[in-house]
């Protein structure tokens, strides 16, 4: 089943290349059919998931190739556990909706667009499902290529700049990570992620630390964590709506997922050692992203900057290294995918009508587009964390978890919630309410049935998570318990070694001060 989830889109992409040029309808149907099947499989995987175990489930394992000069075997191995299940589900559900949204803004070179979308789905699924490190790395880098094309061909005016910047930023991180991957694999003599996790804890702390940092660099660029965030605003602004939704909904989450799987789970000791850095970067990112968002005049850029802020929450929660923090962080990955995805869809919809995204061009849209207004207000409320909707649960858990670890950074993080409300609500007010100042806004048509239809599933999920988050958090709890146990053990061990060799743990000093 996991093989199908991963490779079916690729098969669809291959089939697409042989469809005759003029049969655009057939191409679209083929793409919808493929992603639809994958979505059904994804939901089936979610419902059939056994929440009682932390190990990988539904595993697939086949020989791939042997690394020369060694007896290490790279395998085509897939599996799903509590850390990845939600992201797999989100990806599967999001894809057909994204394709549906694309039918209105992608008008030329439809075949190529669909091919790249499907290849991207394979890449994203592969990243979340791979249980072999080489396979993971392959999918990780392969997933760059489709977005590079989608941005570069169907993007806005500065698309070439944005797409090359995006690619070079991410690939620089990936190549540094490659060195860490190689050191880990050849040191352990295996490529299996489960075995690597066991092996990694036996390494000396210094080795763990530098390998962790190479991984963390690549993932931090992808998230992006604070100093690396500049590619994101450009990429989001220039990307076509469908590209933005996928970027926000899934691709950035690959970074968080990476930090979780290859940071917290694989290198607990190094994560403890460096948690102060990531908590700080996360908390500063929350506030900094919010300030950036406040200053934006372009609606899409505003949403992009809000992404930086929201992902700061995910990083903060993760590196709080507490149960609540990690749990909230995973949930917030999904939440952010849903609400920011919705925001990008909504921005795309008014852009298609008005061909502008400048906030001051709007005003009073609520009168001419009541349905749009409803969805926008709903999404903004979900995004700022109104209790009863999804954003609240995630942010609450994260702040709770990080307060246990570090009251200082949690307090700074909390201010982000307030700032978030400030920029999102004021932007909403300026777009939707007041009197109509620009005559063009009077004639705008409201959302079509297709547009409403593609947002309804996402809206329902937002409410579901808000009202009954345990449906989803229960799926993740076993795996998180295990990760947190290892983290606690690492913390205890580090504290013990601190008393004996104070110099070795100098890096821990800032954490103690807090």
């Amino acid at each position: 089943m996991l093989t199908l989830l991963t490779l079916l889109p690729l098969l669809g992409a291959l089939l697409l290349t042989v469809v005759p040029r003029e049969r655009t309808g057939l191409m679209l149907n083929l793409a919808f059919f493929t992603t639809g099947v994958v979505a059904v499989l994804g939901v089936a995987l979610l419902t059939g998931f056994d929440a009682g175990t932390a190990a990988f489930q539904s595993t697939v394992d086949a020989a791939w190739f042997q690394l020369p000069g060694t007896d290490i075997e790279a395998r085509f191995a897939l599996g799903v556990d509590g850390l990845s299940i939600l992201m797999v589900g989100l990806t599967a559900i999001l894809m057909p909706l994204v394709l549906l949204s694309a039918t209105s803004h992608v008008s030329h070179r439809m075949r190529e667009f669909l091919v790249w979308m499907l290849v991207m789905e394979t890449g994203m699924m592969g990243v979340f499902l791979a249980t072999d490190l080489i396979l993971f790395y392959v999918f990780w880098e392969v997933s760059l290529v489709p977005l590079y094309f989608i941005l570069g061909i169907w993007g806005g005016d500065r698309r070439l700049y944005a797409t090359v910047k995006f690619f070079l930023y991410t690939v620089a991180g990936s190549l540094v990570m490659l060195v860490g991957v190689l050191a880990l694999i050849y040191g352990a003599g295996t490529t299996d992620i489960t075995q690597l996790i066991t092996h990694a804890s036996t390494l000396p702390l210094a080795t763990q630390s530098w390998i962790f940092l190479t991984f963390a660099l690549a993932f931090s660029i992808k998230v992006p964590v604070l100093p690396f965030h500049t590619w994101l605003a450009d990429a989001h602004t220039e990307a076509p709506t469908s590209g933005s939704v996928l970027l926000a909904g899934v691709l950035l989450k690959m970074g968080i997922y990476g930090l979780l799987r290859f940071g917290l789970q694989m290198f607990p000791a190094a994560s403890v050692q460096w948690s102060w850095l990531f908590m700080a970067l996360g908390a500063i990112g929350i506030v900094y992203g919010a300030f950036l968002a406040m200053a934006q005049k372009d609606l899409k850029r505003l949403v992009a900057c809000s992404s930086v802020s929201h992902l700061g929450f995910c990083v903060l929660g993760l590196f709080a290294l507490t149960q609540a923090g990690v749990r909230g962080s995973i949930l917030q990955m999904v939440n952010h995918g849903l609400s920011t995805g919705l925001l990008f869809l909504l921005v795309g919809m008014i852009y298609e009508r008005r061909h502008t995204r400048a906030i001051d061009q709007f005003g009073g849209l609520a009168a001419s587009m009541p349905i749009f207004a409803f969805f926008l207000v709903f999404t903004v409320l979900s995004s700022v964390g109104l209790p009863g909707l999804n954003g609240f649960v995630g942010e609450y858990l994260i702040l709770l978890g990080s307060f246990q670890a570090s009251p200082l950074w949690a307090t700074i993080g909390v201010t982000g919630v307030i700032f978030g409300a400030v920029y999102l609500l004021s932007a909403t007010r300026r777009v939707l309410f007041g009197s109509i100042t620009n005559e063009a806004n009077r004639e705008v048509s409201d959302l079509s049935l297709r547009e409403v239809g593609l947002m309804v599933p996402l809206v329902l999920l937002c409410v579901w998570i808000g009202v009954r988050p345990t449906t989803f958090t229960d799926l993740t709890s076993k795996s998180i318990d295990q990760v947190c146990e290892n983290l606690e053990r690492a913390q205890v061990r580090l504290a013990a070694s601190e008393t004996t060799t104070p110099t070795q743990t100098a890096a821990l000093a800032p954490k103690r001060e807090l």
Binding site: W64, G69, V138, F139, V142, L160, L168, L182, Y186, T214
Partner: protein, 489 residues
């Protein structure tokens, strides 16, 4: 001496039938060369000439496959070796030659075409030299291989006699190449003066104490300089852009893939000649080469010249393997495999990319400029996809052979615990992606602004097939490399 002891002596030197088997690929291709040469007397039809060429390549492949299935090892008084690795090298050389030959069909203008037989003949001698170089266990044998490879390439570089650039390329390559072979001979002489032997087997037994003698060390340094010229690394890389650009493109393809491969095929097993203290120096040279190649390529607006600089950068990457083997104290299996795999991917990638340049060049002067490729994806989707794939493979993006090649090269470094060098190398290859991506930007993301619509024709049919073969090779090496790795044993 009686008859039996004569036999025994013969067997001792020539290893029974093993010597024939070991040199079978060389013999087969050489026989083809002779037949082609003789056939010129009766002025064969173009078809007959092509048949002879193809049959020779086929016989060469079969002979290499025979060696691969049952490698004879050291033969001919320990001067030549035939292993699984040399057999796979043979495959690569023959593939590179075959690609160059296919793409040369219809490449030359009317002014150069009377010499088709000479062209094919020279092209066919080159792989003989290459196979001799990688199998050589004696410096003189290596030297003969080197000359067999170099002399045809000097002539081929100047083959478009009607074009000043081609003649310039031939002359430059010849003058500098003659210097480098001179270095090699002088170095060998010094080494012989110091040690009294030219056999690598004996030298490796005596190493590293051999290098205590400054005379021997000087000799080794000269030999290394000569080889560095052939693989085009800093500071001996300056000839590359001009020669690669001026030479006929099929010949450039062979230089980029074959010459470099043959020199590396010898260099890695012979690395014991270098003192292990040279590792930081070699690593430095490799990194500088990568930087210069990549930065040089970054500013090019012509695809052919860009690939020439990129070839320099790839040589630098491969040289990292040598630094790794020196640190671990001697060549290990995975170093040889890494070089072989990297070059295999490179033969298909660069072979295909230069092949497509051959196709482009039929458009006349300036036909290989990047501007001409604008919007190629709309006009020629197949060709655009192939070119994009080659660029991704050169840049080392996964699902291509180039990625796994890079993986294996860096794994050698990591195993030698040269983490800093590995990270520096990784970051330098990010620069490379800057220009590879630019090609994709031009062909996929820019609109063609009114340039002649269909002036790019993928012809003759052979070019299309060869391009498809290269794409298949690149993808197979990237996605399912086990078939190739199992050859390495």
């Amino acid at each position: 001496m009686n008859r039996e002891s004569a036999h025994a002596l013969f067997d001792a030197v020539f290893g029974g039938g093993q010597a024939t088997l070991a040199t079978l690929p060389i013999l087969m291709v050489s026989a083809g060369v002779v037949i082609l040469m003789l056939s010129d007397v009766i002025k064969p039809s173009a078809l007959a000439r092509k048949a002879i060429f193809a049959a020779t390549l086929g016989a060469g492949f079969a002979a290499c496959a025979k060696v691969l299935s049952d490698p004879p090892g050291l033969v001919l008084g320990d001067t030549f070796i035939a292993t699984r690795a040399t057999a796979v090298w043979g495959f690569l050389f023959l593939t590179g030659t075959g690609l160059a030959w296919v793409f040369s069909q219809g490449y030359y203008g009317r002014a150069d075409s009377p010499h088709k037989t000479e062209h094919d003949l020279l092209l066919l001698i080159a792989p003989v030299g290459m196979m001799m170089m990688v199998g050589a266990r004696d410096l003189i044998v290596f030297f003969i291989g080197l000359e067999l490879l170099s002399i045809p390439l000097y002539a081929l570089a100047a083959f478009r006699r009607s074009q000043a650039k081609s003649v310039e390329a031939g002359l430059k390559y010849f003058l500098l190449g003659a210097f480098s072979t001179g270095f090699f001979l002088y170095g060998s002489a010094l080494l012989y003066a110091s040690t009294g032997t030219l056999s690598l087997t004996e030298l490796s037994a005596a190493a590293p104490s051999v290098l205590a003698d400054p005379l021997a060390l000087g000799g080794v340094a000269l030999i290394a300089a000569s080889l560095f010229f052939k693989i085009s690394v800093f500071p001996f890389h300056l000839w590359v852009p001009d020669v690669y650009q001026g030479s006929p493109t099929p010949v450039t393809a062979l230089m980029a893939t074959g010459t470099k491969a043959a020199a590396f095929g010898f260099l890695v097993p012979a690395s014991f000649l270098l003192p292990s203290s040279a590792a930081p120096l070699i690593a430095g040279i490799a990194l500088i080469t990568m930087a210069l190649g990549n930065l040089g390529a970054l500013v090019q607006s012509d695809l052919k010249r860009m690939l020439a600089y990129s070839a320099v950068a790839h040589a630098g990457t491969l040289l990292l393997v040598l630094a790794g083997t020196l640190t671990t104290g001697g060549p290990t299996g995975d170093a040889t495999d890494a070089v072989l795999f990297y070059m295999a991917a490179y033969v298909f990638t660069a072979g295909g990319a230069f092949g497509l340049i051959c196709v482009l060049e039929k458009g006349g002067e300036g036909a290989t400029s990047l501007d001409r490729l604008r919007g190629l994806a709309q006009r020629k989707p197949g060709m655009a996809a192939a070119l994009a794939l080659f660029m991704l493979s050169l840049g080392g993006i996964p699902a291509t052979g180039g990625f796994l090649g890079k993986w294996f090269v860096f794994s050698v470094l990591v195993n030698a615990e040269m983490i800093g060098v590995a990270i520096a190398g990784a970051l330098l290859s990010v620069i490379a992606l800057g220009y590879y991506l630019r090609v994709i930007v031009v062909i996929y993301m820019q609109e063609s602004d009114g340039v002649a619509e269909d002036d790019i024709v993928l012809s003759p049919a052979g070019s299309g097939l060869a391009t498809a073969l290269c794409c298949a090779g690149v993808l197979l090496l990237g996605v399912a490399p086990q078939w190739f790795l199992s050859w390495l044993g």
